[in-house]
Symmetry: C2
Subunit: 202 residues, 2 copies
Amino acid sequence: MCNNAVVPTASSRVRSMNETRDRILDVALEVLGENPDAGMGDIASAAGVVRRTVYGHFPSRLDLVRTLTERAVTEMTAVLTEVNASGAEADATWVGFIARLWPVAHRYRVLLALRRGEYGDAIHGLLGPLDELLADLVNRGQDSGVFARHLPPGVLSQVAYGAVFAIADSDLPNGARAATITTLLTLGVPEPRAIALVDDRP
Amino acid sequence: MCNNAVVPTASSRVRSMNETRDRILDVALEVLGENPDAGMGDIASAAGVVRRTVYGHFPSRLDLVRTLTERAVTEMTAVLTEVNASGAEADATWVGFIARLWPVAHRYRVLLALRRGEYGDAIHGLLGPLDELLADLVNRGQDSGVFARHLPPGVLSQVAYGAVFAIADSDLPNGARAATITTLLTLGVPEPRAIALVDDRP
DNA sequence: CTCTCGTTGCACACCAGTGTGCATTGCACA
DNA sequence: TGTGCAATGCACACTGGTGTGCAACGAGAG
């Protein structure tokens, strides 16, 4: 049983191959973020590569998008579960979540646009578990009384979640702080407490 | 100068023609609402008409979308300016706006999806004046202290506006009330006052 | 040195949607 | 009854993106 795992191989061939593959993914995220309708050709040339090469790594456009989505879900779910395990109150947990989600939100903003149209079903299926975790957190907050009950947890979490990405889109200074306060207000946290919560964190 | 205006003619020929035209527009709104990427063929067959006929009324797909957008902007702007003229405080004005916007929001939800991708520029140009009115209202509320200042008026109005359509998408009972409270909270109105405001209205 | 294999460049077929042209049908109006 | 015109059905050309096939190149591995 030889060690054919990815990490220790590094035979300079597969390494450069993985580099191009990763660069394609990174660039695809960037290009699709500006224009969700960009084609494989646009992505390829933006990555300094030929269209044919992209198909060498991803058999179809759907595969590319799916890989992108899996990446996003993995990162975000990791953040959410980790923060969730702290045992803190739901509103404090939410603050931590947004703080750590913020750097990721802008990169993956395209998924929100890609959810409708074309790959809606595929993306929705992958985003499902994350949505569920989010709804659970909101539900927990509502049960303990720190979040209001003006909306059912599923909808409320989506609205707050969407607000984060909307604010991330219009990149303003102190966006993270603004987004955190805004979503806390949306969740029904009184303004003084919201400000106190965000100022507790460095 | 003969009266060749649309309304009083009604020569049963132009009437039936206007009917098909309006039906196409109505159905297009519905079909595009479900799938923003639907083609002229889908719209045509959903309207009980042939694709060629649609092109008889709208020279291009862009013309159709533009007409749809103009319709939406006209309706929403009318509501907003009328409510705005009441001279009431900004938060009360907002409540009236959402209450009267609600029946319209769900019908035109597609525009939010159509804004990104393809006709983004065209729609954005038409939606501009409405956005401005909205931002003005939020700005007025911030100046008089009823809305919080956690976001600049332009962004805040868009976030609140987007929340309305998001809630309209998931059609729940009492959606209008829920959307009004949610947006008021997002705007920074304290929960007790938000509830008092919505309960003042029948 | 030779072989491997990622990459390239160009070819192609395919598909879906758009927009147009034109002959035909059927209904309303004069 | 004949004319006008919206609607139809089918034709076509065009565009733009997708996915595949294949010969060639070039750098790294054995």
